[in-house]
Symmetry: C2
Subunit: 329 residues, 2 copies
């Protein structure tokens, strides 16, 4: 298996530190070879360990046992951890572009992205809502077919709608959108998690899933028709489940993935249960892409306190997906 | 302290069984004396233990060590666990009415209500959304001042809006409503939990709490003004907190209660974390009222499988509140 590409994200955030810590923990966590892409100074500023510059991903595996391999994206301007700059945002975007290209070409087996600052990226003319949409576009995938899976060891969720106000959620929900997201999710679980017939629980939108229309009708008019069609296609799904009943310890044993109607319906239980190990995976792309489900944490960057658990989980999930894709060929 | 009144709820649900099991567990769980109110047949049908009819709550304490005291509300018609009837709903409502009266008079120190079926109650002309609103009305308290607190040993939540569709939530949220609910919650934590200066976290409505207006503006126009006013009144509150960041293990150490904008924002994390011990407490009433946060579970009634944990937690929370109210006098 080719190595995993890890663009460091914003060089002034915690990305460089957690990348170095993940490399240090490679043995204990059985992490497959990866190489960083980014400003070498960003690593050196926060970590005294061995770093070796490479120019070809094929050299990463040889270097990995003894040093952190990095494809250098030369940074310019002053560099201080925790103090983001325009130059840093440029470096983050350039690293991401390079990483996408190397993964699309197959030189890297998967893409694991470090945290970026959307606010910083907007300052350099970035117009996508986030990295995910940017990666989808670079892969030629329409936004509604790129699915954000958030996962931990024991819970996987996909929000059907994401970064929109609560007031816009009911209007944005359509049977077609639920179909597109659920199909991509089901296919992704088979392709990247090796599940032959994944079980998908589909949440209601309203309290008590609308209580037969007494507390909202979207379950009847939008969600149930989608479930009926998905089941007719052979997808093993059920619902609409009352949202507050979907994440109990008992309920979680009955599905492989919960399809949620809005951002916080998915993210609240995930983070309540498993904050430190959350992984964001994009399904529906030609490439494998994961990232740790946290931000740049500029406030603690350079203090040595950043926790690499989520990045380690993201690296391991990406390697596992690469394995499933390779063995399914 | 006077005994706690426990109306059994629907006699065909699991209320009678969990009441009997809670009595059986009185020693191990240090449960204060309580007496049941309801159809004696409902207990006898599911439990072989000792039951003693009383007519005066003052006799409950004497009976409690050796038998379950019950004020009998004579049932009529056939009785089968798991098969709800109109007569059963009448019995449930009559028991509740009697229990409210005994608690308001002081003969009972607190009211702990067993689970009722709203669908059954509607059939006998009950017009309230649920028991809570009925109890509030009987206590002469306006609905917006009666606050539904959902609690477990480690998390307390209050939803500002409750059983309304998601599409109606943004329109129902007002600064005034948040003020009313937060004031009642703060007062309740002081009066019934003995907290001198409770810390209240106030959730945002939208993903990332609106991200400075990028994903919805209710945080700016409705929630923040309420927080500013509450703080000016001396209530120790903060927010609006991004909803998915509010229930992480770390975040939960920073507040005594989370004020949530809608039903599932509060109920999803509570049930994900602590399903079996959820307690529903109504703050803002002249009386103490708790209930187990689950339904009648007609499907398992009479099978001996019902878990009394939530009822035991409800009884203990009611007794604790009665203690705090008594010692504050």
């Amino acid at each position: 298996m080719n190595p995993i590409a890890l663009p460091l994200g914003d060089p002034c955030g915690i990305g460089p530190e957690i990348a170095a810590k993940a490399w240090s923990a490679r043995g204990a966590n059985d992490i497959a070879p990866f190489f960083a892409i980014g400003d070498v100074r960003a690593i050196e500023a926060v970590w005294p360990g061995p770093v070796v510059k490479i120019t070809d991903p094929a050299d990463a595996e040889k270097v990995f046992p003894t040093a952190l391999p990095i494809i250098a994206v030369e940074g310019i301007g002053a560099f201080v951890p925790g103090q983001p700059t325009i130059d840093g945002a440029q470096s983050a975007l350039q690293s991401l572009e390079l990483a996408i290209g190397l993964t699309r070409s197959g030189a890297a087996s998967a893409l694991v992205t470090g945290p970026v600052s959307k606010a910083q990226l907007y300052k350099i003319g970035f117009t996508h809502p986030g990295q995910t949409e940017f990666i989808a576009e670079r892969c030629g995938v329409a936004e509604q077919n790129a699915v954000m899976l958030l996962a931990s060891a024991a819970l996987r969720v996909v929000p059907v709608t994401v970064h929109i106000p609560i007031s816009a959620v009911p209007g944005a929900l359509t049977t077609e959108l639920i179909l597109a997201k659920c199909r991509a999710a089901a296919k992704g679980l088979t392709r990247d998690f090796g599940m032959k017939s994944p079980r998908i629980a589909i949440a209601g939108l309203n309290p008590h899933a609308g209580e037969a229309g007494m507390i909202g009708r979207e379950e009847i008019t939008i969600i149930q028709p989608a479930i009926d069609m998905l089941r007719a296609e052979g997808i093993d799904c059920f619902g609409p489940v009352p949202p507050d009943a979907l994440f109990t310890a008992r309920a979680r044993t009955k599905y492989d993935l919960a399809l949620c109607m809005y951002h916080d319906q998915a993210l609240i239980p995930l983070k309540a249960l498993y904050f430190d190990e959350g992984v964001n995976m994009t399904l529906g792309l030609p490439i494998i892409r994961t990232s740790p489900d946290h931000g740049t944490a500029f406030d603690i960057a350079g203090h040595g306190k950043a926790d690499p658990s989520a990045l380690i989980a993201a690296l391991n999930m990406a390697a596992s997906a690469a394995h499933f894709r390779a063995t399914a060929l």
